[in-house]
Amino acid sequence: MAGAEQPLFDPAFVRRLEGLALLTQKALAGRYAGDRRSPKRGQSVEFADFRNYVRGDDLRLVDWKAYGRLERLFVKLFLEDQDTSVHVLIDTSRSMDWGEPSKHWWARRLAGGLAYLALRGGDRFNLYAVTNRLARSGPHRGQQSVWRAWDFLTNLTAEGQTDLDRALPAFAGQHSGPGLTFVLSDFLTPSGWQDGLRTLQASGQEVTVIQVLSPEDANPPVGGDLRLIDSETGHIQEVTVTGPLLDRYQQALADLQRELRSFCHRRGIGFHVWTTDVPVEEALLGWLPGAATAKGGSPS
């Protein structure tokens, strides 16, 4: 595929990621900070707010300078120390190795971008290649670990089949507790994905689903009498491609996306669809819509 020809992480991409990181860092933190307020409040060094003193409050937290000026007792509140875990699960089945550019290439590049942003933000980062089993890279911490994550991504190949209903619970069993989890897949899997996502969410993860489709998936450039071969399973389907059948195909795709979307919305799971002809940077921005509007600019 063309993705093999174009390097995953070329310098131009890295430069754009740096710009993106500057743009999005605050927003990224701001978005998740309120949600992740720790019960051990005040142990952080970052000031958040004041509130009136009530009996029983730790006297060490009283702002005596304010008392000196105002003769009232205020307690200083500090942000929790946000040591968030970010997990990215990449579907690396054969069906991902498809399209121009391929979904595999695009998903890995997106995962690389997420790794860069997460590690720049000081989060812990875990990378999982999902087929029927999990291959893990991480946990990574610190900006220097980006290269290790990227090495792992570069060496990933699209092999075998993916069963999300089995792979996601396996991941959930390893990681209980809060964290951000991104699932990157085309979701073109007959075995289903609902149970996997349910288990993932039940394990306390904040889940974001990103469906990666190639333009060929959305608009198959086929016609006539075809023996369609499933790249992942080898399943053979003979079809006579006609206008109505193509309409039906689009309908089936729309049905799948509607089901995914409604499933995710009902559970508060973030859901995004990207086709691989969209630059990864744009996807990162689109995934963080607040950044673009808050800073009044959009990266090319």
Partner: protein
């Protein structure tokens, strides 16, 4: 339902051909896709939403097959036959001259033939068809056949004639053939394919329905209705009884000029002009312009025609004039033979018989010569006489000509007994033409030989009573193509010469024996049986028709080969006097020349009641037995061809196919 061209079914090979092409074309191309998951969803939705989706995948194929099938069906030309008769069907194909008319293309007969073909092809299972053509003599082509191929072959053999149709005879013959083949046939229906221009006939006594399928339109026609040549009336009919003349060729005097009488008619609805030519030996001798009003008949007289043996009268369109409506060609020509100026010669060999000489000389058609037995012995060619009468004398060798033996003394033509007394005589058959107008009452013959007529002769006069009652006194008959009369008694032993009827008897006998009967003088129509006898002195003869075809004349049988108009020549072989006798055969009948198709078939109820059935008391009552006459034209046989509908359907399907193809289904 019938198929008019079932041979076109081989075109149905196009169906498997389309299928094969489709299968060859329908090669699935391998195409790798990331996942067939969505495709399966799409197909499942599609197949679930319309159960015939699997068919729809090959919709184009099915449409093409349907179009091809419809085209093949159109090619075999299925047709619906309405009111097709069933059971035992007799198809009578009118083959008379009027069916040659070309008012309907290509001719009435061919139209009738194609209708008969439709009938054959519409024949139901179990129906049997008898095919007969109606002309002067019916011709049965197929009897009670179920085999369409055989029937069609038989139909192909049917030929139109220049004759007049005898419908009654055709129906009777067909019925007889049918019963001879399959015994009693309870329900018979007959279909008469005709223009109705047939001689009036009566129905056969058989319960059958007769359906008249009218062929032809009202068409104009010019016809020569009659043509005859006559001698001027100036020649005296004298007779001479002189010395014998055995020279073969009698130098005739200068032949007199002839008068021609022609009757022409215009049967068309419009006036017509034409030219009438008289031809002799291929040369136009006389010509006259015709101008006939609609329906007019004209008699034309041509005087002072040169004495040629035969003439032809011919109607031709005026050169350069607009075409006239003349649908029938066969009646545009008529033929006539010049009447013979020569009278036949007869020889009376007698020792002396004034009564016979006198009676024979009264006969106008004969030149009578007399000879004694001694003089007769010196004759070298007695057979050149058309008739030799031996009175009381019998030569050693009888000449090969018509003979009248009076009082033969020994066995010759007939066996002869000794002469005995005759108690009384009577006619063996009073209706015999030789005894016409002859009153035998009181006739006396004293004594007579008794004759043994053998197989060829019929008795004329027999003993009325006495011991020899029934003994034959006189006999007549034809032997080896010649006519002979034998009287077993001497005239002088009877009172015959004293009877007023004696000359009549002699006239009758001479008339029957006379050579003028060799060829008939009356009008002969195509298909008539022509009663011909061998000319005097000839041992055999042949008839040469207008087409040059020669037919040997079989003695004692009429000539049956006069099937077309023209001059027929009777040529006698084996005689030095090879005089040719000719007769003309002409259509000459209004029935055939008036081409207006008859509204009803001229079939009348048989006057005789059906055998075993009482005559219908009330002619108006429906009569299932002898059969009500149902000869009215009830319209042509309906045959609705379906191929235009099928072709239209194929076009519609092809249009749908094009639409489907462009829509990408």
């Amino acid at each position: 339902m019938s198929l008019l061209t079932p041979a076109a079914f081989w075109l149905s090979l196009t169906l498997p051909a389309i299928l094969v092409l489709y299968l060859l074309k329908r090669r699935y191309q391998d195409q790798m896709v990331s996942s067939t998951y969505l495709w399966r969803q799409a197909l499942r939705d599609l197949e679930a939403s319309s159960p015939w989706q699997k068919l729809r995948r090959h919709l184009l194929l099915y449409l093409q097959l349907a179009a091809a099938a419809l085209l093949v069906l159109a090619a075999v030309r299925p047709a619906l036959l309405t009111r097709a008769p069933s059971g035992d069907v007799i198809v009578v194909l009118d083959a008379s001259a009027s069916m040659q008319a070309a008012d309907v293309a290509p001719s009435r007969f061919e139209v009738a033939r194609s209708r008969a073909r439709a009938l054959i092809e519409g024949l139901g299972r179990g129906d049997r068809l008898t095919l007969v053509t109606a002309a002067a003599r019916p011709r049965v082509l197929a009897v009670a056949s179920r085999d369409r191929a055989e029937l069609l072959r038989a139909l192909g053999e049917a030929q139109v004639t220049s004759e007049t149709a005898d419908l009654e005879e055709a129906l009777k013959t067909a019925l007889a053939s049918l019963q001879g083949r399959s015994g009693q046939t309870p329900s018979v229906s007959a279909v008469v394919l005709s223009d109705g221009r047939v001689a009036p006939a009566s129905r056969p006594n058989w319960p059958m329905t007769v359906r008249y399928e009218r062929v032809g339109e009202d068409a104009g026609n010019l016809a020569v209705l009659a043509f005859s040549l006559a001698l001027p009336q100036s020649r005296p009919a004298g007779s001479s009884a002189g010395g014998p003349a055995d020279q073969a060729a009698d130098q005739a005097p200068e032949a007199p000029a002839l008068t021609g009488l022609v009757r022409v008619a215009n049967y068309g609805p419009n006036p017509a002009g034409a030219v009438l030519d008289l031809l002799a030996g291929g040369q136009v001798v006389a010509t006259r312009d015709l101008s006939l009003a609609a329906g007019e008949e004209q008699d034309l007289t041509f005087a002072a025609l040169p004495p040629e043996p035969s003439y032809q009268a011919r109607i031709q369109p005026v050169a350069g004039a607009p075409a006239i409506s003349d649908s029938l060609a066969v009646d545009n020509v008529a033929y006539a033979v010049s009447p013979s100026a020569d009278r036949a010669r007869a020889l009376l060999v007698t020792p002396g018989n004034r009564f016979m000489e006198r009676a024979m000389s009264l006969y106008p058609g004969l030149e009578v010569y007399r000879a004694t037995p001694d003089e007769y012995a010196t004759l070298t060619h007695p057979e050149t006489y058309a008739l030799v009468v031996f009175d009381g004398h019998l030569p050693d060798r009888l000449p090969a000509t018509n003979l009248w033996l009076i009082n033969p003394s020994r066995d010759s033509l007939v066996g002869v007994t000794a002469s005995r007394a005759v108690a009384g005589l009577e006619a063996a058959d009073p209706s015999d033409p030789l005894l016409r107008y002859v009153d035998l009452t009181g006739w006396t013959v004293a004594r007579s030989h008794r004759l043994d007529p053998g197989t060829w002769a019929r008795p004329l006069l027999v003993d009325a009573q006495g011991p020899d009652a029934g003994g034959v006194l006189a006999a007549a008959g034809e032997k080896e193509g010649r006519r002979n009369v034998v009287w077993g008694f001497d005239i002088h032993d009877s009172d015959l010469p004293l009877r007023p009827a004696f000359p009549i008897l002699v006239q009758n006998t001479l008339s029957w024996l006379s050579p003028s009967d060799v060829v008939p003088q009356g009008a002969i129509r195509p298909g008539d049986l022509v009663p011909l006898t061998l000319p005097a002195g000839a041992s055999k003869a042949r008839v040469v028709g207008p087409d040059g075809q020669s037919t040997d004349l079989r003695p004692g049988e009429p000539f049956a080969g006069a099937d077309r108009p023209g001059i027929y020549r009777l040529i006698a072989d084996g005689t030095e006097d090879s005089r040719e006798l000719s007769f003309a055969v002409n259509l000459n009948t209004t029935v055939e020349s008036d081409l207006k198709p008859a509204e009803t078939l001229p079939l009348t109820e048989s006057r005789l009641p059906a055998q075993g059935a009482p005559a219908p008391a009330d002619p108006g009552a429906p009569d299932a037995g002898a059969g009500a006459v149902q000869a009215a034209d009830i319209g042509p046989l309906g045959r609705r061809e379906l191929w235009p509908l099928l072709a239209l359907g194929a076009l519609a399907i092809l249009t749908v196919e094009w639409w489907v193809s462009t829509r990408g289904y």
